[in-house]
Symmetry: C2
Subunit: 414 residues, 2 copies
């Protein structure tokens, strides 16, 4: 049976909805990818008796518990004390931890308030996970002969660092799991989950029978559907070989529906395709109001490809700046003229023009969700008319990825 | 003692991190605002025994439990059955619910798969919360003499509708709370939490002593700090009077640091100020790449004020389209010239120009975080140079609200 690990997030602000607990989901995903079962997660406030109670309940059900938060310097950071009570031990001052905290403050030229040394209190018998990004260390706290509490900070990047560096390796060791596990996520756009299911029918049946790698569909809204492969093998090379084999099988079935892998986004993929072809990009945006440019420029290094965007929200700006012929502006002809205008005004090789209706009201007799895209590559100009789902924000976000996908397909075809 | 209510989110996908549970936070906030204690929240997978166990544990600690999710039509939607087991009753078919589901499908012109009628199964003794936005009804399930389970769908807008319409009123009734509770959130920009604390020192001491209304600071990152007042009174008029009084007291201390209230955003406030003055807005964006325009146009009705944005990411676009003098482009003079250029090109009364360094690398010898803003109102041109914290995304988002805040203050001063 797989090792069982629960997650407990500590903090009254989490219960009051002042902060959303995103740590538990992230940890849950990492545990799943490491082959460790996580069947229960909880949130509890900054109350000693309730934290102790929650730890004990979790240990009664599971082999291990990851506890996030409550390790800071203030009087309501009491996770250390609660763990010591569950372990049945006292706390001692750890001078190595204390010295690290003092030096962190000194290096930032800040005075250290004395209460920061609370973070150097360590339950007897616990192992310190050295802090690298914040002042609070993590703690590995054995309970009885074979159970364990992992205390990590609530700050996401500190927590993630300690999970990857210390907690997951310790859990893998305890689980006796000698094999290596890794996953790869193929990102798709343009097909529904049931559609993908149908196309991958045979492959899914084969994987269900074999059990390795496993395949999961993950919906990610206006970022498309993800197809995740998780493989297990004797070593990294074996796992990579397995992932490569089924990655190729999936791509053979799905073709250009797959736009990227793992950290790729539609924006980064389009920028890479343009860069590889030595083409610059310009935009003319109306319905999206600057959102395409904003997402393109969120990618570091966009400046080597992206010239700019003419956000022509008012019709007169379409006419005067982009040279769109006067008249109604929610139609394919306008989208095409916007793209050509952006090419010219911005000095771009390739340009997209977007016009449509985001709502809340219809426009020019066209319903909310209408999107017309113009695409100019050199002298070639094409248009597409699409219907986006959802209200204002969803409609606009879907428009961004849909328009970029049209550009991606056109570039691939060249 | 206040009524105690826990929250249980059901769904294996929540534990695997495929979906982030945002429902629990939202419910926690609503419970707090209604004066109901919520000291524990949990997530459990789609497993009958574990859902039953989690319900029983929660009922042992609390008077009521809100359970989200697992009410759909598929075989892994088993929250209804688990609740019936905890209640010690059977399930029956509810024809009113069934007919509603049939008509919902008919009205959308879709065939209804037979498994949808699973959603018409109701535990004996439970009260149906009629569905208005989806196919699954909610259920109020009494347990024993004085405890209760509330079953609501996991789809956020369906859940929120049922909470507000049925669950919170039922909880208020059970708590014997006869008074009305309401809150108001003042949104601020430009001061740290400790700075706000200092300015409101006397007021906080007074409120701490009186206990009504209560005051809380809520950090919301690049959206600024929120100051929330929660007041209790005999009726809505008394509560509003109390909120009005302390709202005025806070504004007297904080002045223009307060930019809006409740649903206001910096974007909506700036648009309202411009609209009231009959002024149109244009933008020239470099470092933000279109983000200011994207956020402005996320507000419905922006088109009556917003002309557009020249996203001049490449320096040559600044020179050729906006008429910025050739040379280095990360300086106040460029920001000013961008604003003036945007005014002219877009035919706008007011324009903002933004240039800076988002990173990852420094530019023109200026560090990541540098922001220069130019503001042109009619013939008056001013500039401001700021240093934004954080890396690329945070730097850009902070730049948007900082630049809009400069515009807000300039408009207020006119």
């Amino acid at each position: 049976m797989a090792l069982r690990c629960e997650v407990l997030a500590v903090g009254t602000e989490l219960l009051l909805g002042q902060i959303n607990d995103t740590n538990s989901s992230w940890i849950g995903e990492q545990l799943a990818l490491s082959g460790i079962d996580c069947v229960f997660q909880a949130k509890v406030g900054d109350n000693h008796a309730r934290i102790v109670g929650a730890m004990r309940e979790a240990l009664a059900r599971a082999d291990a518990v990851v506890i996030c938060g409550g390790l800071g310097p203030t009087h309501d950071d009491i996770t250390r004390e609660a763990a010591a009570e569950v372990m049945g031990v006292g706390l001692h001052h750890d001078e190595v931890v204390a010295e690290f905290i003092r030096q962190l403050f000194a290096s930032r030229g800040r005075r250290m308030a004395e209460n920061n040394l609370r973070q150097a209190q360590v339950p007897d018998g616990a192992t310190v996970i050295a802090q690298t990004r914040g002042t609070a260390p993590g703690l590995i706290c054995p309970v009885g002969d074979d159970k364990v509490l992992y205390l990590v900070p609530g700050v996401p990047h500190e927590m993630q660092d300690m999970l990857e560096r210390a907690v997951l390796p310790d859990l893998r060791r305890r689980s006796g799991e000698a094999s290596t596990i890794a996953s790869r996520t193929l990102r798709t756009w343009g097909e529904s989950e049931s559609g993908l299911n149908e196309r991958l029918d045979d492959l899914i049946a084969e994987l269900d029978a074999a059990g390795n790698p496993t395949l999961a569909f993950l919906a990610s809204g206006w970022e498309g559907l993800k197809v995740r492969l998780t493989a297990k093998g004797a070593d990294a090379a074996a796992v990579t070989a397995l992932l490569d084999r089924y990655d190729a099988r999936i791509r053979a079935e799905l073709g250009t529906l797959v736009f990227g892998v793992d950290a790729d986004t539609m924006e980064s993929v389009v920028l890479d395709l343009l860069r590889a072809r030595g083409l610059s990009l310009g935009l003319a945006e109306s319905v999206t109001g600057g959102l395409v440019g904003a997402r393109i420029t969120a990618v570091p290094g966009a400046s080597s490809v992206f010239r700019g965007s003419i956000v022509s929200y008012a019709s007169e700006v379409k006419f005067s700046v982009l040279g769109v012929p006067e008249g109604p502006v929610v139609n394919p002809e306008t989208a095409a003229a916007m793209a050509v205008g952006a090419q010219r005004v911005l000095g771009a090789d390739v340009a997209l023009g977007l016009t449509g209706v985001a709502g809340p009201d219809e426009q020019d007799g066209q319903p909310v969700g209408t999107l017309h895209v113009g695409l100019a590559i050199g002298d070639e100009v094409t248009t597409a008319s699409l219907r986006m789902p959802g209200q204002r924000e969803q409609m606009r976000q879907m428009s961004v990825i849909s328009a970029l996908d049209l550009l991606r397909r056109a570039l691939l075809a060249r």
